[in-house]
Symmetry: C2
Subunit: 400 residues, 2 copies
């Protein structure tokens, strides 16, 4: 078992109970402390879709993640700077993480040309020609005033040739060194482990990331893109086992309830994912027994709350029958009420996970949770993700 | 000047200062008191679009208006009854008015067949064949538990032949008698004055409505459908002059700020209109100087609030620059923040109007308001309304 040394911006309270790597801690940012393990809701364009910043505060979140690619295209960095930075723009006193935009360029932009120097692409918003390099990506994230920023990486689609994955990984490594050089130090910079689903590449990437100086956290990227769950967790294991336990670990793009519970057991400190909010807008709402689809006719005349153990604004005030009606009638309120509920569920899940680690009962908690929570069938999920990934029009509409 | 007699459910405090008919009062319902003059936000399908019931409470409103036609088609009266009635369904402790659905059948339903007995039509939701009569409309409104209900009427499109208007008006009168017979008495029933823009028909309709016993309020319908403003107010004058000052007067479908100020001076006690919320969702926001379009590029880097005299949630928390971004990025939050602002503006306007009447300064208030508030040009508005009225597809999408 590796000795843990606390660093100024990440204090680990407890770890590695009962042969699991689960640990609690606190990430200290210029905009407050984030108790970990934590989930970051996704506010791609500067708003968690359908919610205001005070809605996020009311649920309890201390941090969310925005996207440098999206915000640099619209409203643009100059606008955000003129408006006093991202915190003032969004009216949010908590912490803000930003993703560098590598993933969004790969999945959304058009005419993408990648060289060792930089990426050139056409904006999905207005078709204008844009360049993004490690240096400009770091500058953009810092100028926006983000507290936690991601190095600029090149994720490669799941299923790509190994050679392409290797080239993308090596470029990600080179770009990390340039990102570190460009980094001013006001924010916490996370390096990103890539390498697709090849254990040898992941090993090489994890070892590389672990060897560099000047990063304050480690992110694991290029996963949850359609690979089986067992492969996802193998890659996470490689990534966490080979990197210093002192640094906070962020798992990019993973956030289903069962994955959060599992990931925490593997020593992941923070997560972000569009899933809880995206499915909420389709009427798919979390309960301790799994997701329910509130548009189902069986809820039409139900006076029950989504969950009678949930104390969120939606559950305290509105019945399944009302939600069923709002979703069927395509009323805007449906999206907000669904999103508040799912994010409250995830917030409470992370709170419960922190409590279970502190009291040394994480394994019991995980077992109880997995026993009662019915996950969405893997084949269904993989197919949904595959269809989404190949449907460019849908991605333009529904990029989170 | 007619002597005012207070009736149990409508207490008039002051009236007819300085030769204007403006008056304050209180409508007493089984769900609280409504200080008048008041504006009722429109919650066609059981939600003011993008807002929850607590948002409406937070702004200050004591009542809103829903729609019997829409709610009877979806989720259906049986569902609402099973869920404990409209108040419980929406989780709203204040008063609820409902429109009978006559107007919506005329503007939304397909294959409408009107006989003296009833209306037969196909639902715009699922194409199913429906019938609505004065008796079923009253029953539906009462079974939902509405506090203020409208008699079933037959509005005729602006520009229709006078003979058609006359037939529609006479049918509305016959149906009022049937509505009164069907009315149980638990709610306040309003009769509706029709007659289009013909002074002789309006006179006949107003005299008829004034002559019947068993109504608790008077609504003025069939206006704001494309006619010039001067004609609108002439018709309102006829309608109010010829009916008892003791009854509360509701002006259906009128609610621009300048029309509210004007209408109050003509003795109108309550109003409802989709305008403030519909234009909010397009980024058209009220200020004391008129509507601004927040999507205009001049607001891109503005750190100001929409209005620095406004204390609404949106103005207290978010800049024009952020709103400009949200609207341009089609973010769902935009609709809620815009709607909260416009409804707060209208709420405060009604509060100010009540204050000015109480202190005998309504005329000054009106003159000051009209001097500073730049109305939307009448020709632009008329054209917008005409285009909307002929575009059936748009109406299906945007029926409020």
């Amino acid at each position: 078992m590796t000795e843990i040394t606390n660093i100024p911006y990440f204090k680990i309270d407890k770890s590695e109970h009962h042969n699991v790597s689960a640990r609690t801690g606190v990430i200290i940012t210029s905009h407050g402390e984030i108790p970990t393990p934590a989930f970051f809701p996704v506010a791609t364009q500067g708003t968690v879709k359908s919610l205001s910043s005070s809605d996020i505060t009311d649920i309890g979140y201390k941090a969310f993640i925005s996207n440098a690619y999206h915000l640099s295209l619209r409203p643009g960095i100059d606008s955000i700077k003129s408006l006093g930075g991202l915190h003032k723009f969004i009216n949010w006193e908590g912490a803000i993480a930003t993703d560098s935009g590598g993933f969004q360029i790969a999945s959304l932009a058009r005419n993408v040309q990648v060289s060792d120097e930089a990426v050139t692409f056409r904006s999905h918003v207005d078709g204008s020609l844009k360049h993004l390099s490690p240096e400009t990506s770091i500058r953009i994230q810092e100028e926006m005033g983000a507290d936690i920023i991601m190095a600029f990486d090149q994720p490669i689609t799941y299923g790509a040739e190994k050679l392409d994955l290797k080239i993308g990984m090596q470029r990600t490594h080179d770009w990390l060194i340039r990102s570190i050089t460009a980094h001013s130090g006001a924010s916490l910079l996370y390096g990103i482990i890539q390498g697709g689903t090849y254990k040898d590449l992941r090993t090489e990437s994890a070892n590389f990331i672990d060897s560099v100086r000047g990063i304050q956290g480690i992110a694991i990227g290029g996963l949850s893109l359609g690979e089986p769950k067992s492969v996802l967790w193998d890659m996470v294991d490689v990534s966490t086992d080979l990197t210093s336990p002192n640094l906070p670990k962020h798992l990019l793009g993973v956030g289903s309830p069962e994955d959060l519970v599992e990931g925490v057991g593997k020593g992941i400190d923070t997560f972000d994912c569009v899933l809880p909010t995206r499915v909420a807008r389709k009427g798919s709402l979390y309960t301790q027994f799994g997701r329910i689809n509130v548009t189902n006719s069986k809820y039409r005349v139900s006076n029950e709350a989504i969950s009678n153990t949930c104390a969120c604004y939606t559950c305290k005030n509105y019945s399944l029958g009302y939600l069923n009606h709002l979703f069927r009638a395509n009323e805007l309120l449906a999206y907000r009420l669904g999103t508040i509920h799912n994010l409250s569920f995830i917030y409470r899940l992370m709170e419960d996970l922190r409590g279970s680690i502190s009291s040394g009962t994480y394994i019991d908690f995980r077992n109880n949770f997995m026993d009662s929570y019915q996950s969405v069938d893997e084949s269904v999920r993989t197919e949904q993700k595959r269809l989404w990934a190949i449907n460019q029009d849908q991605k333009q509409q529904d990029f989170e």
